[in-house]
Symmetry: C2
Subunit: 237 residues, 2 copies
DNA sequence: AATAAACGAGGACATATGTCCTATCAGGCT
DNA sequence: AGCCTGATAGGACATATGTCCTCGTTTATT
């Protein structure tokens, strides 16, 4: 995580995402711009949270590891998603690990300002609005992801980890983890993932090249997925 | 839903559950005690929410119906769980349908007081604490329920809809929906649910009697379930 | 009362999926 | 270079699970 000293950029982002009216004025001077490179962690499961991050560029992968060591993908978060607010507010350890898929920039605020401004109604209302809207959004999807067949899950995953504007782009190890771990993330076995992947290859959606995957037909994958089950449109509403 | 005029009872519950220090004093006079009979709905999915309910006695079933008509069980909520706060705060329609499994009593507050006290910091802090703790709790389980085999899901379900203090109690149609709908709730087919049920019967956990189920061995079911995946301990922490 | 619809129980069969294994390749270390 | 480890690709087989169906029972409707 690298802090970028650029107040002008922060204000641009605030304006771009309509956060001017949302983030209380008092909090403004405590905001900072942070950058994460692909595969870099924004936070680690089980650790004490430090920041609330507003994602303003890029994409992160949110996943959780159970006590039995089973890893499961929760979702991909894009701008204007928020990371870490629940744990900071609950004063509990991080629920998930969050890593960057692509270069990520966030507007971050350290949790100590939560206590500092706890008597500020505009601030409290801001937080309350933030959390309840996010909870509402997540509740709609979290419980049913595993009802979708593996084809849908894999197609959605591949769409998420591949760059939208690149056709025939090779998925690098920075954006996509190993196939074995990928199987775990979407909740299936490596063997079955390979079967489904073979199906995608035989229909020309994907190509295997030197042990790497190349996304050939994003539109075809989008059709298989229906819609991306791992990405809810993050919106302010 | 029947309102029970009994301020003394309300105060008893507030004291019993340690809500004295949690619920702001100003809100106290707006609290009411409500009672729901088994199978009665606390709220219906898609409707505009009216109340926030603190469950102080009994158990409710929370389930959602997708656009394709697929019904899925989210969880069972026991005291001191809360119902309806997210939707009231988000000013959106109810996410789920919530019905009573056993006789339920709640301390309810109408949503209009949310606006009335929106400048009250103690109230806002109360809400923020409530929502973020619940979100933290739910995030831990919601995404993985369907990873468990149907045996675990069914055992957990049966434990939830059967009375804890009754051995050999017949599950009535008030506590438990039809087998066909039960299959839907736990995310499997009626056929497979019957298979698993047959397994439970052959090992003496459950008996079929006149088209109804009788839970014979709660401890055995608890062993199958491991722990009840549909009930997280609701705690204030 | 008669009929229709819904529910419960289970057979037959197909499909989805996981476990275990083998073979090959790639990368890292000595 | 040789060896080891880990990742990839796929075969064989078993298990989990769903679809479709039949038959009997129960409940609701006419």
């Amino acid at each position: 995580m690298k802090e970028i000293m650029d107040t002008k950029r922060i204000n641009q982002y605030l304006s771009q995402f309509g956060l001017d009216d949302v983030i209380p004025k008092e909090l403004r001077k405590h905001l900072a711009l942070y950058r994460f490179e692909p595969d870099e962690a924004l936070c680690l499961q089980g650790e004490v949270p430090q920041y609330i991050h507003f994602i303003v560029q890029g994409k992160v992968k949110v996943y959780t590891t159970s006590s039995e060591g089973r890893t499961l993908l929760i979702n991909f978060t894009i701008p204007l998603g928020v990371i870490g607010e629940i744990e900071c507010l609950s004063e509990k350890v991080n629920l998930n690990t969050v890593t960057a898929v692509f270069p990520v920039e966030t507007i971050g605020v350290h949790k100590r300002w939560l206590t500092q401004y706890e008597d500020e109604t505009s601030f409290l209302r801001f937080l309350l609005n933030l959390v309840s809207h996010k909870f509402y959004q997540k509740s709609k999807s979290l419980s049913s992801i595993l009802l979708y067949p593996v084809e849908v899950r894999l197609a959605s995953y591949l769409l998420s980890v591949s760059a939208e504007d690149e056709k025939g782009a090779e998925l690098s190890s920075l954006n996509m983890t190993s196939l074995k771990d990928t199987a775990n993330l979407i909740g299936t076995s490596y063997r079955h993932l390979n079967r489904v992947l073979q199906g995608f290859c035989s229909t020309g959606l994907v190509e295997r090249s030197k042990g790497k995957l190349v996304v050939i037909d994003r539109e075809g994958l989008t059709e298989v997925a229906g819609w991306n089950i791992y990405e809810n449109g993050e919106s302010k509403s």
